[in-house]
Symmetry: C2
Subunit: 367 residues, 2 copies
């Protein structure tokens, strides 16, 4: 088991990564000071796959937990699921001393975390992420929230978990596309902070993709360590934290332009990183070699859904509406070499527009 710690003063918390943690969750959480049973927020799919690993351990340590099930999938990260969680908390007479255990992927974690952030102005929650993407990304950093019909993650808060338990065993049941979607975020962490991690990925990709524990646990822990360090320096998203958005500007635009149907979030970010690498190369910030290496690594992970037919006008429109933009400025995270991200918000609108149209026409070729 690898034990990391996110240092945020009185909101500090441990992140545990290892094989078989679900079955030890009860004693681990008792050790962290919990004494009453949590309200478990999850979905039926996760319960079926992993409930038998987690629930008996919780029961033995705390007695029976109330379970709230929400729908499975991004479209359930909404106000309906949120209300369902609130209702469940009320029904089980949760008070300010109660706590939530979010058991599932990013949708469960974000929605349950936001419920915890806002129920009685904030109760504690523990995250038990069951997808690679949630383990390396959404469970670290305290961003919680839901989507509105008008856009993703528009409603949210910063609310740190009391602990994160990432069991590598849960990843073995992930479809290949889901595993890849998480790995792209690991690539992102390497791209912005660690050549060593990128090199490790290049060398050990086969072992990671077949979920061999030491390799998988290593890259999860490295990605978490990198993200945690960024979050520690900037909990509430000033500029430092912004570098975590590498690949996200174009990524979000691709998701929006295809109405969130064609790409998984990680896949859109993968294309977004390819676009950022290419844009960085065209602007003379990133050399051909480094851009090429990053792009090749991304393509080796899994075949990405094609960009063919993504409406460029729609992507451009979405880009201009991006949540990261302020006062109408377009904001990109670009690399001045691997490991050296820069926030660039003075790009000419016409240049970016031309780049987007070009990128969606030609894909990832570097000229």
């Amino acid at each position: 088991m690898i034990k990391l710690r996110v240092e945020l003063g009185d909101r500090s918390y441990p992140i545990l990564v290892g094989e078989g943690l679900l079955a030890r969750a009860g004693p681990i959480l008792r050790n962290l000071g919990f004494r009453t049973p949590p309200t478990v927020v999850t979905n039926n799919h996760i319960l079926r796959l992993h409930g038998q690993a987690l629930l008996p351990s919780l029961k033995e340590s705390f007695g029976p937990s109330a379970i709230i099930r929400i729908g499975d999938g991004e479209r359930f990260k909404n106000q309906v699921s949120l209300t369902r969680i609130y209702d469940g908390l009320l029904r089980s007479r949760a008070d300010r001393g109660s706590w939530i255990l979010a058991f599932g992927g990013g949708v469960v974690g974000d929605t349950a975390g936001f419920a915890a952030a806002t129920y009685m102005r904030g109760i504690q929650f523990v995250s038990v992420p069951t997808t690679l993407l949630a383990q390396v990304d959404s469970s670290v950093g305290g961003k919680v929230g839901i989507n509105l019909p008008g856009g993703k993650n528009l409603i949210g808060a910063f609310h740190q978990p009391r602990a994160v338990l990432s069991d590598t065993a849960t990843l073995r049941s992930l479809p290949a596309r889901e595993l890849a979607a998480g790995l792209y975020e690991v690539v992102k962490c390497g791209a912005i902070r660690s050549r060593a991690l990128l090199r490790y990925l290049e060398k050990n990709l086969a072992a990671i993709l077949s979920c061999e524990v030491p390799a998988l646990a290593h890259v999860i822990a490295e990605a978490v360590r990198i993200k945690a360090a960024v979050v520690e320096s900037d909990e509430r998203e000033g500029n430092a934290r912004m570098i975590l958005n590498f690949g996200h500007t174009v990524g979000h635009a691709l998701e929006a332009a295809t109405e969130y149907r064609r790409f998984k979030h990680g896949e859109a970010v993968a294309w977004g990183m390819i676009a950022a690498a290419r844009l960085g190369f065209e602007l003379g910030m990133l050399c051909h070699n480094e851009a090429e290496r990053l792009i090749q690594l991304i393509h080796r992970i899994e075949r990405l859904p094609s960009l063919h037919g993504v409406p460029a006008a729609g992507a451009w429109h979405a880009l201009r509406q991006d949540k990261k933009s302020r006062d109408g400025k377009l904001r990109f995270v670009l690399l001045r070499g691997i490991g050296h991200p820069e926030i660039v918000d003075d790009l000419d609108h016409n240049l970016v527009r031309r780049f987007i149209f070009d990128f969606l026409g030609t894909g990832d070729g570097l000229r």
Copy 2:
């Protein structure tokens, strides 16, 4: 104009109290650094009464503001109004640099403040409270939130405003009952922290009730100063902030037992303070004289809705569900003399039960 400041590090903000502030809001807010027009959240009643005072000033300083209207009354402090605010923000393309101006009483302030706390994980807001209760209580301290069908203020956050502008002129249009409801919170501030304020209220009650500016502005500023000092010492409700709940344990129980129909919140708190005075007297914490003086002052303000027929069993049930309770302990704020509140959470359940049944039978008599 009286200028106070709530000191909370980088979340510090000024509270301005004075006559005619609405008409000067634009320049005041420009001085505080705002440059773009706010999204104004309000209701039709307030717009009709005070829109002509505020809006031209905002327009002159910032250009036209988007206006979002929600329903008027406690039952509109809910998810429907919240969604309406989110939709309005999206429609006016509000981004992270946008800000909300909450223009109205506590319902507007709490709901708009919660929307600001959660839209894009938090945007700035300014509070322009138009009721005495909002000016002395809900606009200070950063508690924002909405009700659920299952209970009041169950969903919320801590989100400090960037400024509060309290115009005493708006109070002249308040019904007497509304003015009284706010004054009870002023009495509360005196009871927990300032004999001088209680004495001032006793001496100047007539001037205050007829909204004479110096007297009214003085008690608003004193109440704000007291509440701000408590909040500064304890922003997120540890024990120090708990003393602001003087009168609220029984107050909330009375509201719940009458389904929030008989008492305004301030009136319920007034009865709650009477109950707390009586309980403090019975437990030997408060002398007869001080209890009597507090009770008499409360009764001089306005005739309180009768306790007659309030179901004691319902009040007792609600008391045990109180949000302030933890692990099933009943928690009261009682006075060990005026200005010296204590948190008491080891009272015998039977004693409290008997007290509640007795209180609802006999009202405010000290035995």
